[in-house]
């Protein structure tokens, strides 16, 4: 394929140097640290992140304008946070001139479509100062997470301390130390259907994208993609926000990222193709033109 990792200027394995961030981070604390740096330096006035919602593990898009608010949004929730829904509001009620946003690959597609085709996003496009994408194989509705935790992992969502997908397992970890790894074979059917037509694994359209895959535990693989991203990333590394290692010096490295990207894209391209002949002489709509 060749295009599975998107365009990027550089790729490293990285980890935050901020111990407090790492204590609650999913992997290398990249998103929180980069936003914290950008906030402190005035590169962004605030960032749209997946903050805590009204139920355990239910995210709610939130505009973080302080380090403390960023800290509250650390970690992956594995269910839907419509972060793009705040992108206009951030520039209106919140009055931000330089907006940061974190999101899944599809949300990065939304942001870029919104910049090129701002149908309902007046004066928003040029205010997007930093878009951080996260690697994503699929997402889950909240009720799926609830069902997986309670029915399959036998934990109440309140007692779940961390969730993690890696090494072929969706693992639930409880506050009291229980660790329940569910095979992905079990979790597949609970995935959000809309994810099955997605042809992007590593957030090709973000300024900077990151995820655990390819790097050792506690580290993240980081792709630096746009000019903006390159500039901010270089400054943050120079400011000592991150420890970095060359991506070809770590295991399992880019080979695994490429493999998983091709797996996702191949599987989903098949789903897209099958939509054409879904019914009898009738197909399903395909959004890609």
């Amino acid at each position: 394929m060749g295009a599975e990792l998107g365009k990027y200027k550089s790729c490293v394995s990285a980890r935050s140097t901020d111990k407090a961030i790492l204590a609650g981070a999913q992997d290398g604390g990249i998103v929180t640290t980069l936003f914290a740096y950008a906030l402190a330096e005035g590169i962004i006035d605030g960032a749209i992140v997946a903050g805590p919602g009204d139920l355990p593990w239910k995210p709610r898009p939130m505009i973080a304008t302080t380090y403390e608010e960023l800290m509250a949004a650390r970690g992956t929730k594995y269910n839907i946070s419509p972060n793009v829904s705040f992108i206009k509001e951030a520039t209106r009620s919140y009055g931000l001139d330089k907006v940061g946003i974190v999101g899944t690959p599809c949300q990065m597609q939304s942001v870029r479509k919104g910049q090129l085709y701002p149908i309902g996003l007046r004066d928003v496009g040029d205010k997007i100062a930093l878009a951080i994408g996260i690697f994503c194989m699929e997402n889950f509705p909240y009720q799926s997470i609830l069902q997986l935790a309670e029915d399959h992992a036998a934990m109440s969502l309140e007692s779940v301390k961390k969730m993690e997908i890696g090494k072929g397992k969706f693992t639930f970890m409880s506050e009291r130390g229980a660790v329940v790894p569910l095979p992905l074979k079990v979790t597949h059917k609970y995935e959000q259907p809309g994810c099955h037509v997605c042809l992007d694994y590593v957030a090709n359209l973000a300024d900077v994208s990151c995820g655990s895959v390819g790097s050792p535990d506690g580290w993240s693989t980081v792709f630096v993609r746009s000019k903006k991203g390159d500039d901010i990333w270089a400054k943050s590394v120079a400011a000592g926000c991150f420890e970095t290692k060359a991506i070809d010096s770590v295991k399992p490295g880019l080979e695994l990222v490429t493999k998983l990207a091709n797996e996702k894209i191949g599987k989903n391209q098949k789903t897209v193709d099958e939509r054409k002949t879904f019914g009898v002489g009738k197909g399903l709509r395909i959004p890609y033109i």
């Binding site: 090129l116 085709y117 997402n139 909240y142």
Partner: protein, 285 residues
């Protein structure tokens, strides 16, 4: 001289002092404006919000009029009484079919313009004029309003209420590149305008329900939030990550559906966002 080469030439001359800048100004006046496109703003039954949006490009509007387009028709803006021949007609508002002049003018627009662009929700989808029941002084019998696509063939839609200044600007630039650009620029403009042309072919009706029938029911929604961000009347919220519309608030402008990355998404255009945005920035300088 191609657009890009003239732009880059200007860039080279930007840093040096006044003398050079002056020389450039002289050159601009000497340069004939024959390769501009002609644009008209045709005002049907709309609130003038679309025209205000066009004007809200501020300096950018002057750049467009200076370099790329001549405004040959426009209520209050150009002293021209009858719809002239033009390259691009930007039509605002829906057509009151109870008003002979409106019907006549939209037909003339189709005859006189090479490209007809429906600017805004009313021209594209009827929008708020869908809710009209007549009875207003001083023409109470004016009660039936149709989007222009129900009466003439429309080439491009710019949905939204109001359509954004940036979207109108982008379409103006792309229309210029399509008609006057190099082969590569023509290809880019074609790709950029394609989804907006497909929107024009798709139909003349829009509302929040499109998200239900064309996106969610089709198994395509992934809960990004674009629709809620685009909605001008805050009719859309997200419950457990999926859009919920207060349908009584919906004004049928088509912004949510067209902003959605799962209504249409072009892999020819969007991944090139960085270079396209740079191109737009450069030509607007």
């Amino acid at each position: 001289m191609g657009l890009l080469s003239s732009v880059f030439k200007k860039d080279d001359q930007q840093k040096p002092a006044d003398v050079v800048t002056k020389a450039e100004i002289t050159k601009k006046e000497v340069k004939p404006v024959v390769d501009k496109i002609t644009v008209g703003h045709v005002h049907m039954s709309g609130c003038t919000g679309c025209l205000v949006s066009l004007a809200d490009n501020y300096g950018g509007l002057l750049t467009i009029l200076d370099k790329y387009a001549d405004l040959v028709y426009g209520l209050t803006l150009a002293d021209v009484r009858h719809i002239p021949k033009m390259d691009v007609a930007l039509v605002e508002g829906s057509v009151c079919i109870n008003d002979k002049l409106s019907v006549e003018e939209i037909k003339q627009t189709r005859e006189k313009a090479a490209i007809v662009v429906a600017v805004g929700g009313c021209a594209s989808y009827g929008n708020i004029t869908r809710f009209c029941r007549g009875g207003q002084q001083n023409q109470p019998q004016h009660e039936s309003f149709l989007p222009i696509g129900d009466l003439i063939k429309v080439d491009v839609y710019i949905p939204g209420c109001a359509p954004t200044p940036q979207m109108i600007r982008n379409v103006c630039i792309m229309a210029y590149l399509l008609l006057k650009g190099s082969p590569e620029q023509k290809a880019l403009a074609t790709n950029y305008l394609k989804p907006l042309m497909m929107a024009a072919q798709k139909g003349t009706s829009a509302c929040f329900c499109d998200l239900m029938t064309e996106v969610i029911n089709q198994g395509l929604c992934m809960g990004c939030g674009s629709c809620a961000a685009a909605c001008p009347v805050r009719a859309i919220t997200h419950e457990f990550g999926k859009p919920q519309g207060t349908r009584d608030l919906c004004i049928k402008c088509g912004a949510c559906y067209n902003q959605c990355p799962r209504s249409w998404f072009s892999f020819d255009v969007v991944p090139e966002y960085e270079s396209i945005m740079e191109l737009i920035d450069t030509v607007m300088k």
